[in-house]
Structures are given as C-alpha cells and as structure tokens.
Symmetry: C2
Subunit: 397 residues, 2 copies
C-alpha cells in the first residue's frame, strides 16, 4: 500500500554517512569515515566493576522505572561539574539527563521550532543534528565558517533575512566535521547577535573535554546573562557512546519543557547507564581519565597529521584541530572531491566522508572531506594516509 507519511519526515533520508559506513564493514577497508571513540579509550575494567556491583547489589535501582529528569545523584554530580565550568547556574538553570546529546538536540528543536521556523547552523555541521532539525520541517539555513568559526557578518545577514529564526546551532569546540574551534571573540559576537535578534543558542559540546593542544575557551553558556543558551553535553566521547547518556543544562523554564518532551519520547534514559556514569566519576579520578583520553587523541592526531604531511598532494589543505576526532581536508576548487572519495574507497580501500554529507543542501558545491583519527589503529592511519596520499598525487599533481 501507499503510505502517506507526514510532511516533516517524508523527505527525511538515512544519514549519507551510513552508506559510506557500509563499506567499512568489509575487513579490508580502512575507515577514516567513522566518528567512534577509540576502543582503547573505554575504561572497560572500571565500568565492569561498577556494573557488576550495581546489578548484583541494587537490582531494583538498575531495573525499575525511574524519573524522567534523570538519576538524581548523576544530575547533582553534573551540576557541580558544570558549575565549575560556568555552564550551570544553580540559581537560574536546571539539568536533565538525555539519551545521548542527540536527544537533547532533537528535543530543543521540538520545544522551540514550529514547521517553517528558521534554524541557523554552521555550514558544514553535524549530520545527526541537521537531520534532527529537518525532521521538524524547519527552514534550515547554513552560515559559512572560517578557521576561527562561523562568519559573523554572514550570521547577522542571515538573522536579518530570517526574522522567524528561533535557534542558532553551533559546535564551538573541535567542530564536527571541520575540527575547527570558535574563537572567544566570535563566541561573544554570536551571543550578542542572539540577544539583538532575540533567538536561542543551542551550544553542542560533545568534544570539549578532548582538547589536546592550546587553552580552553569559555563556553557561550558561560556568557549567558539572559537565559538564551541551551548547553548540551555527552558521555559518548569521554566514557562510552553505547551508554547513550547525555545532558542538557539550560534555564529552568526551558528544562521543564524538555522534561515533558522527553517523558513522551522515552520516559527516561536507561537507568543502569546513568548510575554507571555517576559512579565512574565518583569512584575514579575523572580528571586523570580525561588527561589519558587527551593523550590518546593527541598521539593519534599527531600521527595522522605527520602522515598527511608526508604523503598527500600539497594542493590539499587541512584544518588543524586542537582536540576532538576530526580533520577536514579541502581540495582546490577545480578538483573532483566526489571522485576522490569514491576512488578512495572503491580502489584504495580507504573510506572518508565527502563534505557534502554535512551541508545544509547536499547538492551544494564543496571540495572538502572529513577524516577521522580516533577509530583507526596507528597502523591503519599510516597505511590509509599512504594510500590516500598516493591517490591525491595521482589525481591532482
């Protein structure tokens, strides 16, 4: 029969990355296409110990219904941590546990956007967020980026041109897919524009803890005096993504609305995972764990950077991430990026993600592509960069 799907989801497609990731199931393909944390980054032993004690000694806690807002001890732990980073104000804010940051992003959009309302995102941006916004049929408008973040003039032009804008969505630290970090000046400018044009900011910070170079830059949330920033965090990159635990820190009234939306979405987040997160932080040296992770990603990034330097055609420029999981490569404007990505996986058995997957309109022109260094092994980074480098020289030099 002919299904008459709702307008908001009828055009929605599975993430383009998923198509690429299918290739990565072949054992002979080296994947720079994923966004998974390094397997060695999981504190598996510590989690096994916490989990065993929890399920053995407190099975009802781990198995019974729980409250929508989240496991109270974990919320308290996060409120303390976020307060220290000025990402939570005890007087003005509340904090809810979500089923991954993805849920926090989706419910923020659902809470504020009617169909046709404008939502502004960096272009390119994280495909999971873009698709969440698309699933509410918003008018999704991209604003281009430069090395230090979104182009402020263009952001203001876009706000002027779209008086029905509800949300500006940004990933200020080690952005997915570009690896770029927004400067402090631009964070202030974005916040000032949000105030001037009376819109909310959705600040997505899944990678912020994974800084392996340079100094932390204050979050946009920390600048918020008016209550217009929704800050979304995640345990996916600092503990484990399979847990599906994230959180949202935002003004109380906003959290109240997100709580109601979450109640109808999944009642509450898996409670075992919430307790595991809380006890991991309490029973371990969390700062030391973060330092350990930073060491892993620093080493992997430096290796990939060196291999890129040694192998790739000099015509390709690369972003210089100070943290996170991704490097963004850009070909000269007359080069065939799609052909490069296709040949890479088909002939050279190395998967990268074509940049248009991250655009607001996938058909827009781009000559960029995304490389991930967190998932492959060192050997795969070396071998993969050799192969891609050879292809790049064959095609472009």
């Amino acid at each position: 029969m002919n299904y008459n799907f709702s307008a908001k989801v009828s055009g929605l497609q599975a993430s383009a990355i998923r198509e690429i990731l299918k290739f990565t199931a072949f054992p002979d393909v080296i994947s720079f296409a994923a966004g998974n944390p390094a397997p060695e980054a999981f504190p598996a032993k510590e989690i096994a110990k916490i989990s065993a004690e929890l399920v053995e000694n407190e099975p009802i806690l781990a198995l019974q219904y729980s409250i929508t807002e989240g496991y109270t001890p974990l919320r308290d732990t996060l409120k303390t941590m976020m307060s220290k980073k000025n990402c939570f104000s005890p007087d003005n804010d509340e904090l809810i546990i979500t089923s991954g940051a993805q849920q926090g992003i989706e419910l923020s959009c659902k809470s504020f956007c009617n169909e046709g309302d404008t939502l502004i995102a960096e272009a390119p941006s994280f495909i999971g967020s873009l698709n969440a916004f698309r699933s509410y049929n918003v008018n999704l408008v991209g604003v281009e980026m430069e090395d230090d973040g979104i182009v402020i003039d263009k952001l203001e032009q876009t706000l002027k041109a779209n008086p029905n804008t509800k949300i500006i969505y940004v990933i200020p630290n080690f952005q997915n897919p570009t690896g770029r970090t927004m400067s402090f000046e631009k964070r202030k400018a974005v916040y000032d524009l949000a105030c001037k044009y009376d819109v909310m900011i959705l600040e997505d910070n899944p990678y912020g803890d994974l800084r392996f170079e340079g100094e932390d830059i204050p979050s946009i949330k920390s600048l918020d005096t008016q209550g217009r920033v929704i800050y979304v965090g995640s345990f996916s990159k600092v503990l484990a993504p399979g847990l599906r635990v994230g959180y949202v820190s935002a003004p109380k009234e906003v959290i109240q609305k997100i709580v109601v939306c979450k109640q109808v979405a999944d009642v509450h987040t898996n409670i075992w995972a919430q307790v595991v997160c809380d006890r991991f932080i309490k029973e371990n040296d969390f700062d030391a764990h973060i330092r350990y992770l930073r060491g892993i990603y620093r080493k992997k990034y430096n290796l990939m950077r060196d291999c890129i330097e040694a192998n790739f055609s000099k015509k390709i420029t690369f972003s210089t991430p100070q943290g996170g999981l991704f490097v963004w490569g850009t070909l000269p404007s007359d080069c065939d990026m799609t052909g490069f990505c296709k040949k890479a996986v088909a002939d050279y058995k190395v998967a990268v993600v074509p940049g248009n997957a991250f655009l607001i309109k996938e058909s827009d022109p781009t000559t960029s592509f995304r490389l991930n260094y967190s998932t492959p092994t060192d050997e795969q980074i070396i071998k993969g960069c050799e192969m891609l480098g050879k292809l790049s020289k064959d095609m472009f030099d």
Copy 2:
C-alpha cells in the same frame, strides 16, 4: 525572559499521574497509583549474570556505538517470537528496537501525523501515549469503550466525521487504565474500519504476555493483509522497565521511516540493555519465566479483587481484568470521584489515579479511577483496600 515555545509543545503538561506519584514518595502512603511491575518479577540474578559476563568479556560490544535498527541478534530473536504469534511477516515486515514502547508510539505518530491530523484513541487511554500524540499537535479524538473494547459504531462515526484521520491507537489486551480486553470480533471490526477509511492502526501490546486467566486472542496485527498495522511491544513488563527496550513490528516501508526518525531521536537504544534482553531469552526458559510472572499477577489481582469485594461500597463497579496490572473502578454518576481520590490520599494515605487523567480532555466528566495491584505488597493491598473501602462506604452508602 519570555520563552516562545513551539505551538505543538506549548500547552503540553507533565503527566497528571506524576503529581499523584509525588505523594507516593511519603513512606506512610500506600500507592495503588503506579504502573510499575512487581519488584519480585525481575529476574535479577539472571540479569546480573548475563550483565557481568557481557561487560567483562565483551566490553566493546557493550560500550561502542551500535546501529539504529537495533542489536541484530535481538531483532532476529524477536522476529522469530513475533512470527510464531503472527505479529511479524518475514516477507512483508521489518522490526526495529526502540527505547521502550513509548518511543515506538511517539515515532509512529511523528511518521504519519501532520499537525491538525486526527488520531483516534480509546477513551480513556494510556496517558503517556496521549501526551506523545499531543506533542505533535494532532487532533486527538477519543472513542468510548465498553467491557469488550472500543464502541465500534462510535468509531465509525468518528472516522466519518474526521476524514483527516491517520491513526487509530488501541491497547487491545488488559488496557491501561481500564484492564479491559478487546474481543476478537471487535479486533476484526476495527481492522475492517481501518481498511474502509484508509487509516493506520497503532496496536500497543505491553501487557499481552501477562494473561492470568482466559485464552489469548489474536492480535490485530495477525489479521493484517494490507500492511496497515504497526505493532508495538515492550520488555518493560516481562523483563524490566529500567532497561528501556521495546520494539516495533510493521511493514518494511514504515520501519524504514521509523529508523530514520529514531536515528535523529537517540541514534540507537542502549546496547547493554539490548544484549541483556537477547541473552535472557536465549539462556533461560522464557516461557517458564512468563508463567512465573502470570502467577505473580494472578495472585495479586485475586487478592485485590477479594479485598475490594470484602470492603468497598457496592455502589462502585469494577472491571474484571484477565491480565495486566490495572483494575478500573467506577462510581455512580452522581458521586464525587475527584473528592474520593483526594480524600483517599490526603486522609487515608492511599493513592489511586483519578480517571480524568486518562481522558482526551481532562475536564470531561468521569467517575472512574484506576487501581494498580502489581506494585504494592500483599499487605499493602489488604490494608489499602480496607482504607479505601471504609472511605467509599462513608462517602457513598
């Protein structure tokens, strides 16, 4: 500041039951208001063993990103189980794991309903589903029920009057809140009307396995030759609700759309919980476990039924559930149900849920209330019924 929430969520309130449940946090209150499985129904030891082996021996499986459709072995297990119940057709259907049945219900609504489209539900019905539908700003229309299910004439009148109806939502087995079961004849009639008026059926079956009396009645899904039934199941009542694992069996094209919606909602369901569900079924005698659960609920229901019989004013009539977790009490039309529920919790320290919580419009008149027998202990059932019985005689005899 003044938040301008989207039209679809601006009127959305937290579940009225939650207000009642606040009282149940007081240790001296006996709660017949919850909907939690009996704590003794959790196979805690078996789950602890499976969990310990999983996290210890296969940490990457338990902790890394997984696919949106769900853990493949669990999907295969469920496809086999659902095939045997004629709730899954290998030729026509697919099956996705969701974060509880709640997510399956919400995403079904999101997939099919534009704002203003009509969704028909039994009146009364499960508040979590009603609120999910409300959160998409559908035109939610209730059709009254009788002992053997929805009133078919009225369902057809409602379909005629609302040509923009997209979905009929029903809970055929041991309905929440009434405990009623839809007869086979009515299931066929509902399906025939769905075909006649070209609408989808959303069949929610969280309690079907908990039949403690009578014979199983075939699902509406099992009658589906056209591909218009979306069947939603759950592990919440047969294993543990804190896991947040449910599933949807539906025509392939519908599942494809739900997969895309789930991807933007929470990427995938907590993978630890999915593996636990799969291995519990494989490593244990699942049928024996279900028989054990049925025994628990049979005993608890019979005890409550006997205590109601012995204590309550004869003016109150009660539904006679053959399974599930709930009994539905109804006062004569001239009686003050709200006053009864308020006095019950305030003066007699027994919490029940006023029936209007489950109506399409909470302001509609009703003299019914819901009692739960799965959560309280035997002692609490005896004591609570004595107290409520005394109050009912004081107020109504």
